[in-house]
C-alpha cells in the first residue's frame, strides 16, 4: 500500500515534467516558424511577418488556428487509414525523442530531488536513434498512401536519404562513445562538466559529420530533396490539408529543435555552464536550463542560416556525399580516436 502511494508521487512528478517538456517543444516549434521567416527576411533584406501583433509575434498562433479551421481532405483514391496514420506517426515520433534528454540537473523541492530528465536510461543514445529512425515511416506511409506519383517519389527519396545519413551519424557518435564510455546522455553531460571542457574539443570532425547528418535527417536545406517543390510540386505531403499537413510541418520543426538539443548535449556540454558555480540547486537548475536553451537557439539559427544561404543538392550528389564521403570519413575518425585514446591511457 505504501509502495503504491509512493509510485504515484513518482508518476505525478514525471507526468508534470512530460507535459511541460512536450509543451515547450511544441511552443519552440511554433515560434521557430516565426523565427525562420524573420531570419529569411533579414537575409533577403525584407521585414518579414509584422502584421499579427508586435513584430508579428502572434503570427504562429494565427497560422495554427488557420490549419485547424481548414477542410480535411482524404483524396478519393488514397488509402484512408494509412493517410491518417502517416502524419500522426511523424508527430508522435517527434514528440517521443525528448524523453532521454537531460534538461538540467536536479530541482530540490520539499526534500525531494527531482531530476529534470524524463527517463535516465543507460541506452540514451540508442533510444534517440531508434525513435528518430521511426520518423521515416511517417514520411513513407504518408507519401505512399496519397496515391500520388509526386508524393510517392518524394517519400521514396526522403526515406533513402534519411536511412543513408543514419549510418554516418551512428559512426560519428561511436567515436564520441569511445571517449565517454557510456550511452546515457545524463552521464555524458556530467562528464563534460567534470572534465572542464566540452566534447567538441575532442571530436571536432565527429561533430561536423553529426551536424551534416542532422541536417539531412531533419530534411533541411541543402538536403530537402523530399520537399523539392520545383521538381515534385510540394513533396510527400502534397495531398494533405488541415492539421494533418500541420503535423508534418510541425514535426519537422520539433525534430530540428530536438536535434539541436542533442547536439548541444553531446558536444557542447548540455546544461553545464563553464567557469560559474551556483550553490543553490534550484537556481543552478534554472540557469542550466536557460543556458541549454541558449545553445539550442543558436543551433536552430544556424540551421535557418544554412537554409537561406546554401542551394539544394542534386540527388546523386546527396547520395555520394552520404555514402562515399561521410561514411569513410566517420570510420577514419573512429579509428584515429580509438588509437589516440589507447596511446593516451598506456602512459
Amino acid at each position: 500500500m505504501h509502495l503504491l502511494a509512493i509510485d504515484w508521487i513518482f508518476l505525478l512528478e514525471k507526468l508534470i515534467l512530460i507535459v511541460i517538456i512536450i509543451s515547450i517543444s511544441l511552443g519552440v516549434a511554433m515560434y521557430s516558424t516565426w523565427w525562420e521567416r524573420k531570419v529569411a527576411a533579414w537575409i533577403q533584406d525584407r521585414i518579414g511577418p509584422n502584421r499579427a501583433g508586435p513584430l508579428g509575434l502572434l503570427q504562429p498562433l494565427a497560422d495554427g488556428l488557420k490549419l485547424f479551421m481548414k477542410e480535411e481532405i482524404f483524396p478519393a483514391s488514397s488509402n484512408k487509414i494509412l493517410f491518417l496514420l502517416g502524419p500522426c506517426l511523424a508527430m508522435l515520433t517527434a514528440m517521443m525523442t525528448s524523453a532521454v534528454v537531460p534538461w538540467a540537473s536536479h530541482l530540490h523541492i520539499a526534500g525531494r530531488d527531482v531530476p529534470l530528465q524524463i527517463a535516465d536510461v543507460n541506452i540514451g543514445i540508442l533510444y534517440v536513434f531508434g525513435v528518430v529512425s521511426m520518423g521515416v515511416y511517417g514520411v513513407m506511409i504518408g507519401g505512399w498512401a496519397s496515391n500520388n506519383k509526386f508524393s510517392l517519389m518524394a517519400a521514396v527519396r526522403g526515406a533513402s536519404q534519411i536511412i543513408s545519413y543514419e549510418l554516418a551519424m551512428g559512426l560519428a557518435l561511436i567515436a564520441l562513445v569511445l571517449h565517454t564510455g557510456s550511452l546515457s546522455l545524463g552521464v555524458i553531460v556530467e562528464q563534460q562538466a567534470h572534465q572542464g571542457y566540452w566534447n567538441i574539443v575532442l571530436q571536432p570532425l565527429g561533430f561536423l559529420i553529426f551536424f551534416v547528418c542532422a541536417l539531412a535527417e531533419c530534411n533541411r536545406t541543402p538536403f530537402d530533396l523530399s520537399e523539392a517543390e520545383s521538381e515534385l510540386n510540394f513533396g510527400y505531403h502534397q495531398e494533405y490539408s488541415s492539421m494533418k499537413l500541420g503535423f508534418y510541418l510541425f514535426a519537422e520543426y520539433v525534430n530540428m529543435f530536438i536535434s539541436s538539443v542533442i547536439m548541444a548535449t553531446l558536444y557542447f556540454g548540455g546544461y553545464h555552464i563553464p567557469f560559474i558555480h551556483i550553490a543553490d540547486p534550484n537556481f543552478a537548475a534554472l540557469a542550466g536550463f536557460i543556458f541549454l536553451f541558449a545553445k539550442t537557439a543558436a543551433f536552430i539559427t544556424v540551421f535557418m542560416w544554412i537554409r537561406w544561404t546554401v542551394p539544394r543538392f542534386r540527388y546523386d550528389q546527396l547520395m555520394n556525399l552520404g555514402w562515399k564521403g561521410l561514411i569513410p570519413l566517420a570510420l577514419i575518425n573512429l579509428l584515429i580516436t580509438a588509437v589516440v585514446i589507447l596511446l593516451h591511457t598506456q602512459h
Partner: protein, 137 residues
C-alpha cells in the same frame, strides 16, 4: 517507515540505471503524446468545413489530369539503398557494445575491431565497385 520506503524507491529510480523502472516514464510520455495527437486530429476534424466535391477529392499532379495510378514499381536503386542500409546499420550497431567497453578491452580488443572494420570495408568497397551506389545511368 514511510520515509524509509520513500528513500528506497527514490534510490531505485535515480541511482540504479539498469533498473527497468527507468523505462516507465517513456511509456507515460507515449500515452501523453498519443493523447495530444488524437486530441488535435479530432479538433481539426470537428472544426473544419465539410464541403467535398468530386474535383476536390482528385489527386493534384501539377494541375494536369492524373494519368494511371501511383501503385507502380519505383527505380530499383532505392530498394538497393534500403537493403544495403540494413546490412551496414547492423554492422554499425555492433560497434556500440565495443565502444562502451573500449577501455577495458585495450589493444587486444582494438585489433579484433580492426579486423571487423576490415570486413566492413571489403563489403563497402565491393558495393561501390559494383556500382550499387552510382546514380547516373
Amino acid at each position: 517507515m514511510d520515509v524509509l520506503l520513500l528513500q528506497a524507491v527514490k534510490s531505485v529510480a535515480t541511482a540504479d540505471v539498469n533498473s527497468s523502472i527507468n523505462y516507465l516514464p517513456i511509456v507515460l510520455q507515449l500515452l501523453v503524446a498519443i493523447g495530444i495527437v488524437v486530441l488535435m486530429m479530432t479538433g481539426t476534424h470537428l472544426l473544419g468545413p465539410k464541403r467535398k466535391t468530386e474535383d476536390k477529392l482528385k489527386n493534384f499532379e501539377s494541375g494536369i489530369d492524373a494519368v494511371g495510378n501511383a501503385r507502380q514499381p519505383m527505380a530499383i536503386k532505392y530498394f538497393l539503398v534500403a537493403i544495403l542500409f540494413v546490412l551496414f546499420d547492423v554492422e554499425v550497431i555492433f560497434f556500440y557494445p565495443y565502444a562502451v567497453n573500449f577501455r577495458a578491452l585495450g589493444w587486444e580488443g582494438f585489433l579484433a575491431v580492426l579486423g571487423f572494420v576490415g570486413f566492413f570495408l571489403v563489403g563497402f568497397i565491393y558495393i561501390i565497385k559494383k556500382g550499387a551506389l552510382s546514380w547516373e545511368d
